[in-house]
Chain length 434, copies 2
Amino acid sequence: MNQALQLDAIHNELIDERTKGFPYGTPPMALNRIGEQGWQLLNGALPFPLAVLKDAALAHNHCWMRDFTSATGVLLAPHGKTTMAPQIFAQQLAAGAWGITVATVQQLTVCVRFGVRRVIMANQLVGPSAVAEVILLQEAHPELEFFFLVDSEAQLRLIEAEAERHPMSRPLTALLELGIPGGRTGCRSQTQASALASAIAASASVDLAGIECYEGLQLTGDSAHDADFVTGLMHAVRELALACDAAGQFAGTAIVLSAGGSAAFDVVARELPTRLSKPVHTILRSGCYVTHDSGFYARMLDNVRLRSGARWQSRPGLQPALEVWAQVQSRPEPGLAILTMGKRDASFDIDLPRPQWHFRAGRDTLPCPAPDSWRIAAMNDQHAYLHVPADADLQVGDLIGTGISHPCTTFDKWRVLFTVDDRYRVTGAIRTFF
Amino acid sequence: MNQALQLDAIHNELIDERTKGFPYGTPPMALNRIGEQGWQLLNGALPFPLAVLKDAALAHNHCWMRDFTSATGVLLAPHGKTTMAPQIFAQQLAAGAWGITVATVQQLTVCVRFGVRRVIMANQLVGPSAVAEVILLQEAHPELEFFFLVDSEAQLRLIEAEAERHPMSRPLTALLELGIPGGRTGCRSQTQASALASAIAASASVDLAGIECYEGLQLTGDSAHDADFVTGLMHAVRELALACDAAGQFAGTAIVLSAGGSAAFDVVARELPTRLSKPVHTILRSGCYVTHDSGFYARMLDNVRLRSGARWQSRPGLQPALEVWAQVQSRPEPGLAILTMGKRDASFDIDLPRPQWHFRAGRDTLPCPAPDSWRIAAMNDQHAYLHVPADADLQVGDLIGTGISHPCTTFDKWRVLFTVDDRYRVTGAIRTFF
């Protein structure tokens, strides 16, 4: 499976100062020349706010996840919705990922355009134009392996109706989604799921390729609870897979079993693999591991490591690779600093950004750790409220580097993110497609 | 002041299916050809989620605000951060806006590039590269009138230090920001503000051009409270302006007094105008009026109209112009539908989107109003949870049109938004620059 990506269109794209983060007064520049400019986040030449990806942490996380999945014997189709950055997809595939996961057909088109040839859409395929596009992509790219979710006969019938309108040299390949009562999508019971499996198996245009579920929304951070919950869910997937296999409902030469976000993938890797009558591809879909974070996933990874034995406890865990930097624009009260970053620049849906670094031009050569007492208490569209002790040594013009919580909702606020080395020198640029 | 915008670069830009909302399988197309394609949101050819701007509501809102500002005798520099769409800036200027407001220097560069020649940055200018860019733009565009905020001597000194490094044929022009204790930026007292006014007046590189404040963050929705609060704040601005004027601290041939978001601009228009020794430009900066919304600003505008007398109560108010449409992808439980839209697609920072329309292909020719009992209870990155009565007639594949609350945080999730007529036929496309 050749998934060498074609990134020339990205590398050659001209970036200019209409793009947030691009230095003011700089002529338009091909994206792949950005790393040669000698730009440095700390020397005053770059605008703020600025989102950066730390090269060393990214590289570390690629290795960590490659080692974790190979140690546990599962495959990885990292969720591409996190970054929507084909350059990062290329790194993930080079680090051994089996394919890429997406959430929408638009995200699928981005993957296919840049050369990804194994894609799981961890979402229901719905809508005539979406079904037509999938068929078109499958016909145009015979080597493309694309899997999508089905959780109702109503959805299956709509897909079949649209499929009848297009010539197809091969069937569509669906994963049946097993859900959770009170949860999001997915069949609510084995009975429902079995009936749907029979309907898919009988479909002329849609093959049943495997079983999918998603455990991430019900996790609490209580490790024992989470492990029990995910174990039970994986056993339900196995039960369903065994039943479908026994009934001969799986088409194709291999069977896909897939689950696993970024918060309890260890339990999935341990409990999901199942022996069936054909080769089984057990595929995790973690997306956030690649940049990790300084909030929600940092907390969840502590549990992953604790549950995974001494080897993973002694080894350094995933590292936060994504930071958003801003400048102090005002110190209007002793305990308050206003920063040049807001809801347009950094995630705020789980936690607010966390101040991690403080840098003063003319005094510091590298950032100093921000005191634990400094806390971002609120954000407006373009401002953050940093609460500090009344005697804090913090001035207008100082830089604050923040760690974020939930990388997905920071990536989608940036069209280009710079990569930086350990001294915050810009080494390149990553283009997103949201 | 010629502010005819140069939009050719936008009109000629090729849009393709890497851009969210562009129809699948469609060849790349110049943006200004999109309106000629005969696309229709309701006929299955467009992907979902999809953000659309309703032409009739946009046109209505432009007229409404033109009439309101001309009736009250104030000028309008609509906040461009809301849309960051030069095509909409052009409409606003054509409808009589004095200039455009921005929040960052990146937003200023977008304005200047497309031909806006009067810009207020309702934010502190800070950072060497930002100051250098402003000087460069002022020198390159002698007709550019650009105002930014200063709220501390520390900030003023940093600007002066950077200004010394650049040849300047004219000074920078600052507005002194009067703030609110416990608020965001701005001087906390008349004493502080007076001292800063003296410092700016004595600056070799920065002129004092006027006074600014922002009343929007303290509003409660209680009309009497809000009117009292804003009246008091405007009187404080007037007091400061009178003192600075008496001290001869204002440079230039006119004095700028500016306040006014989208929630209490009527009180600002009534209470801010002040007679000084030079002509006064009283400038509102409302941004959200242009698309209005179906949540926070809809509630606040009711108060604006009630406070503005019979003429504005009898006339139709602003209309919501921005909708996000999605498809039902799953009906996993009788009271639950999962929609193909999420935190990547629509605002969720004040209210969640509100279901307003329901459309079923094959049954309906136009959308039906969604029942009031239908409610979006949560969103994930790419999904919305629509709660409905257990017997609701809602199927997989149905379309739901939602109104949003707080347009700023929906615009920034779309690179291109389609404009539509009353039958949801696509009439054009609006490009954003976030």
